[in-house]
Each structure stands twice: as C-alpha cells, then as structure tokens.
C-alpha cells in the first residue's frame, strides 16, 4: 500500500464542507498505527474506522497550505505543519503507518484525510517525532 488520500476526504474537500483545515480553530490530528492492525480502505471516511490510539494523538500546529511550515512556502496545494512528537510511546511491535484526520471530538464524524506508510520505527518507550518531508509534497498535496 502506498500513501494516499482518502477519496471521501477529497470528495468533501471539493464540496467545501470541511472548512479551512489550516485554521488554528480546526483540529487536525495524527495517529500512529501498525499495518498489522489497520488496512487502508477507500471505503473508510471517519476516524471510527481506525484502530485505538497507541498513544495520545498529536494535534498539528503551524499548518499551511503551501508547504514549508511554519512560514509557508511556494508549493501551493501542499499541506504542511510542524513536526509531530508522540510522548512516551509504549514499547512494542514496529509502528509503520499513520493517519491524518480532522478531529471533531467524535470519531464517527472525524474525517480521515490522508494515510502515510513507507516507514518503520520500533518504539522503545521514549518519544517518537515524525519529521515531515522537507520538500513537496511536504505532508500531502491535493
């Protein structure tokens, strides 16, 4: 599975129902996951389809829609944000994928945005920082 947008997110993005996702008032979160516990599906629309959080989800900040957070850059259409740090991730099997979603406070209405895999980290009980790509597409490009 390659990284991908959720089609049902793209649908809502085109319809304009999700608001300004870079606004500080809109919570966009990241959840670390294991592919052994989650299989990506384009049928998934909401965070209720994700497995339980392994550790507190990270709320993204310094969000921009043109790459190169925090100031913003010259890549229109590219979502970027400051790096995400998960604190004291319990030791266990390798973590190898993540999902980004717009959190409404209710999983059944929290729109899944993007799925990213292609990495692996075996938690040692300490913090895990996800450093987003430092060039296009940064986190993700529509």
């Amino acid at each position: 599975m390659a990284s991908a947008h959720y089609n049902l997110f793209l649908q809502e993005a085109w319809k304009g129902t999700l608001g300004d996702l870079t606004s500080a008032g809109v919570a966009v979160k990241v959840r670390l996951m294991r592919t052994s516990a989650y299989t990506f599906s384009q049928a998934h629309q909401f965070a209720s389809s994700l497995p339980a959080a392994l550790v507190t989800d990270v709320t993204l900040g310094s969000k921009v829609a043109n790459g190169n957070s925090p100031g913003g850059g010259s890549d229109p259409g590219c979502f970027d944000a400051a790096d995400a740090t998960f604190v004291a991730v319990p030791s266990g099997a390798a973590i190898d994928c993540l999902a980004i979603f717009r959190d409404t406070g209710t999983p059944a209405t929290s729109n899944l945005m993007s799925y990213i895999d292609g990495f692996t980290v075996t938690p040692n009980g300490g913090d895990i920082t996800i450093q987003w790509q430092a060039s296009a597409p940064w986190i993700a490009k529509l």
Binding site: S62, A81, A82, W132
Partner: protein, 62 residues
C-alpha cells in the same frame, strides 16, 4: 509553572501555541527541542543526557 512556545506539536499541544506547563515538563520540552522558553534551573550534562536519551526520529520522504 513556566510558559513556553511550542516548536513541535506534542500531544495536544499544537506547534505555534504558547502554553503554561509545570516547570519539569516545560524544561523537558525545551531541552528536547520541542519548545522555546527559559529553563527553570540549570541542568548538568548527565541530567541533559538522561533527558535526551530515549528519543526516536522518523524522517519521511526525501
């Protein structure tokens, strides 16, 4: 309590926000590079090494 400005997003603390934290947590965030602020006290090299010890960084993409 200490006030810090988040550089990384850490848990519920979004990057760019200014937050008030207990001194110990604020110092940990500052020393690990997650936040900007003023340490509540001096830390010797052994303490700093211990605080920095268990971090893992995953770089995505190029």
């Amino acid at each position: 309590m200490s006030t810090v400005t988040m550089i990384n997003s850490v848990g519920e603390n979004a990057a760019g926000s200014e937050i008030e934290l207990p001194d110990e947590i604020a110092d940990l965030f500052i020393l690990r590079g997650y936040a900007d602020g003023t340490l509540s006290r001096d830390y010797d090299p052994n303490e700093r090494a211990e605080i920095l010890g268990e971090q893992q960084v995953v770089g995505l993409g190029g």
